[in-house]
């Protein structure tokens, strides 16, 4: 890489977010293997689905005994926010022609946050593509490492891999719990889930919670971008104002 490119603040942020995000592909790969997915199924999720939360959701539902259709539905609902990111990135980066088909696949939490945190259009573009390509390559590489390691481990419970899944979901949720309403939604959905578990097939309680969250979103009028925070904040020192400055969506 030419030294000039490394002088770009957005490229630096993009590279560091790539490493941080890519590394936790290990936990996805290992958990997926422990949940009974074979190597290529695990890789298909990272290569094609490429959205951490939705991938964890898919394997999490299956690990809990849920059906394929429940896993697919939970994963798709969790990915709805990527549509919002796509809209933001389309407005911000103005991709031309076929480029938008590639850019769409990379429109996820971290790339959106990296690009939106910059104010210069060139920097926004460099931030998006550095984070996007970096995360894509490393996420898939470390997914493969995790999947191979997970298969070699043997009994997943002995290694606490079911506990690792719990921790992963809490870690994905945590950065989104800013303020009273996100907490209220999280608690209401957690309670709805636990109440539903004994009465409906595995996987369905998650969809019950999605319905509760949807009603919450429909009825309330809090800030419109809550819940749309990256798993790893590319701009941790600017906590609270690193997002939503795309000129879009702010109420």
């Amino acid at each position: 890489m030419p030294p000039k490119l490394l002088d770009s603040p957005a490229v630096k942020v993009g590279l560091s977010i790539s490493v941080a995000t890519g590394l936790y592909g290990v936990s996805f790969g290992a958990l997926s293997a422990a949940s009974g997915f074979d190597f290529w199924q695990t890789m298909a999720l990272s290569l094609l689905l490429f959205s951490g939360g939705s991938q964890f959701a898919f394997i999490g539902v299956v690990a809990g005994g849920g059906s394929g259709v429940a896993a697919m539905t939970a994963s798709a609902l969790l990915g709805l926010r990527n549509g919002i990111y796509g809209m933001q990135m389309n407005a911000l980066l103005l991709p031309k022609g076929k480029l938008k088909y590639l850019q769409a696949q990379l429109s996820i939490d971290e790339t959106t946050a990296t690009a939106s945190g910059q104010s210069d259009p060139g920097e926004q573009r460099r931030g998006f593509w550095t984070a996007g390509i970096g995360i894509y390559v490393l996420w898939n590489l470390f997914t493969a490492v995790g999947a191979l390691a997970g298969n070699a481990l043997g009994d997943p419970k002995q290694w606490g891999l079911d506990g690792a899944a719990v921790a992963a979901f809490l870690a994905l949720l945590w950065p989104r719990l800013k303020g009273r309403e996100p907490w209220a939604i999280a608690v209401a959905c957690a309670v709805a889930t636990l109440v539903a578990v004994p009465f409906v097939p595995p996987g369905v309680p998650i969809l019950v919670a999605a319905a509760v969250a949807g009603v919450f979103g429909w009825l309330s009028h809090a800030r419109s971008d809550e819940g749309l925070e990256p798993d790893i904040d590319p701009y941790p020192h600017r906590r609270g104002d690193s997002r939503g400055d795309t000129g879009e969506g702010a109420e």
Binding site: M87, V166, A168
Partner: protein, 103 residues
């Protein structure tokens, strides 16, 4: 159960969702309510997935070593540990409790 069809369907849906942002009329996605629902849905689903993985055992609820993982992860997050450290803390807590003969 052959999961391949569902895996591929989930992949298609994920890409279609991302791509939709580039093609649907701006007014629909710019609607604050649409954005708000996408956000609340993300929070609700992640909260639900957390408790399902911590407490559900098939169609019953169980208190086992996974609750130790939940507590360890919460402490690690409160201490601002990075994602991977949080996951390892969760695994170590569950594995440790099982080693001690619980859950």
């Amino acid at each position: 159960m052959n999961l391949w069809p569902w895996i591929l369907a989930a992949c298609v849906l994920a890409y279609a969702t991302k791509l939709a942002g580039y093609f649907v009329p701006r007014s629909l996605l710019k609607n604050p309510r649409t954005m708000h629902i996408a956000g609340t849905m993300t929070i609700g689903l992640l909260a639900s997935l957390t408790v399902v993985n911590a407490f559900a055992s098939g169609q019953s609820l169980a208190l086992d070593a996974r609750i130790g993982a939940l507590a360890a992860a919460a402490i690690a997050l409160w201490l601002r540990a990075p994602f991977l450290v949080v996951v390892i803390a969760g695994a170590a807590a569950a594995a440790g409790l099982r080693l001690l003969g619980w859950g």
